[in-house]
């Protein structure tokens, strides 16, 4: 059973932030590779997002998100109040253009060109964020 006060706080945060990432660490200093991958995906988008470090309250937050979204692992990206997914889903949606669509932004040119047929002059995608 999740802590009722924390659950309400999380629900308020999800409602107040159109794009909200629950992650391990911070966008500037992710402390988990999966969280870093979602930060990198979001950083290719021209979008503002809120980020919450789950590490200080990992287990209580896990219980809360299990009740809210039936999802236990972090990172979790919420868009317009709905759980979009974790790192695997976000990366897949980034490549397919669905992430831009969900966020209501234009698909960045470098991403759109990358998966199928990258132009000869295009620089390699920077995936090492360190």
């Amino acid at each position: 059973m999740a802590d009722a006060e924390l659950k309400q706080k999380v629900e308020e945060l999800i409602a107040a932030n159109p794009v909200l990432l629950f992650m391990k660490g911070t966008p500037e200093a992710p402390r988990c590779g999966f969280s870093m991958r979602v930060v990198q995906a979001l950083d290719t988008m021209d979008v503002e997002y809120g980020a919450i470090d789950v590490l200080p309250a990992l287990q209580p937050l896990r219980e809360v998100t299990t009740e809210i979204s039936d999802w236990q692992t972090f990172p979790q990206l919420y868009v317009n109040g709905e759980l979009l997914g974790g790192a695997d889903i976000v990366e897949e949606m980034l490549e397919s253009g669905e992430l831009a669509e969900a966020l209501g932004v234009e698909q960045p040119a470098e991403v759109a060109a990358a998966p199928a047929a990258p132009p000869a002059q295009s620089p390699p995608l920077q995936i090492d964020g360190s």
């Binding site: 999802w71 695997d88 889903i89």
Partner: protein, 77 residues
């Protein structure tokens, strides 16, 4: 240390007709990668597709056999 064949069978039982591949991503047997193509995914969002698979293997997460499962899901066709 997860039994890859057992994990694959568990997913196939939960999602009859599914094509499932399970791989050990790190060589440690607890960080797995699965590719699942299942008719049950038709019309579902990715998160719901993942939920179906995660639910199928929940027991192996709960008992600590698996620590991480990277998923790639799609509907057939």
């Amino acid at each position: 240390m997860a039994d890859l064949a057992e994990i694959k069978a568990t997913i196939e039982t939960a999602l009859p007709g599914a094509e499932v591949e399970v791989a050990d991503e790190t060589g440690t047997g607890d960080h797995l990668r699965a590719t699942v193509t299942a008719p049950q995914f038709d019309g579902l969002s990715r998160i719901d597709q993942h939920r179906l698979v995660k639910t199928a293997v929940k027991e192996r997460f709960d008992d600590g056999t698996i620590h991480a499962l990277s998923l790639k899901t799609q509907a057939p066709g």
